[in-house]
Symmetry: C2
Subunit: 117 residues, 2 copies
DNA sequence: CGCGCTATTCGGTATTGCTATCTACCGGTA
DNA sequence: TACCGGTAGATAGCAATACCGAATAGCGCG
């Protein structure tokens, strides 16, 4: 992807990761892989780890060190109460923004094939 | 709104402004007002002007100085070919992201009112 | 002249994702 | 033993962008 996606991920990637953790706890490497599966093919490890450090410091997740068979111990992150609250706020903000942007894309009171161009 | 919205606007505000300009040319002060009308109540002038300078330097808009009856001359921005192309790219990127995020919000194979909480 | 409204510009700050690199652990192989 | 590939995490420096606050500029009115 391009620069547009990079900038758009600012502010949303955090919510995306929290949403992934809301489904089930996971560790950094795993989260990166899951993002790749879901189409975010060029999000690198470094980005995810830095983000995880941030959300940990803000107290949105609980961390458990789990030994791994191959490699250093995993840090498994799980969403806690504050994280769930924050995620809900995220959905609110996202909904607000997405609604308005979609409205710009398909302006009411304009002919159908306007705004796409 | 809060910090979340601020960060989420990164990368999208540019597209939002371009979309507004796609409807019809406008000048900075007017764009700010239009954003306010559409619900982005706390976007300040300074942000919009800085953004306009950027998209002008990238050649996405044409500029015309128009004298005003009240106040300094207005700089009227209108989307040009490159801008239209860029906007279409924006819609592509936005669509990609929005689709994946909505999928996270309403995971397939989960009961309906999951993920909202 | 000073006040208010319109309109634009500028300097500094904070956040955040990216690149690139580094450490560390394990199993397999030469 | 020595090296390599895959797993796992951490860190430093950079670029982009939105915010805040203030300044500047033009015009009409009391």
């Amino acid at each position: 992807m391009g620069k547009q996606m990079t900038e758009m991920l600012k502010g949303t990637l955090e919510g995306i990761v929290l949403a992934i953790l809301a489904v089930q706890p996971a560790y950094g490497y795993e989260i990166t892989a899951r993002l790749r599966e879901q189409g975010f093919s060029d999000i690198v490890e470094g980005t995810v780890y830095a983000l995880l450090v941030r959300i940990e410091q803000r107290g949105l997740v609980d961390v458990a060190k789990v030994p791994s068979e191959k490699g250093p111990p995993r840090k498994v992150y799980s969403l806690n109460g504050a994280g769930r609250e924050y995620l809900q706020e995220f959905w609110g903000t996202w909904g607000f923004l997405a609604e308005r942007i979609d409205r710009l894309r398909h302006p009411a009171g304009k002919s159908q094939n306007e705004g796409e161009n």
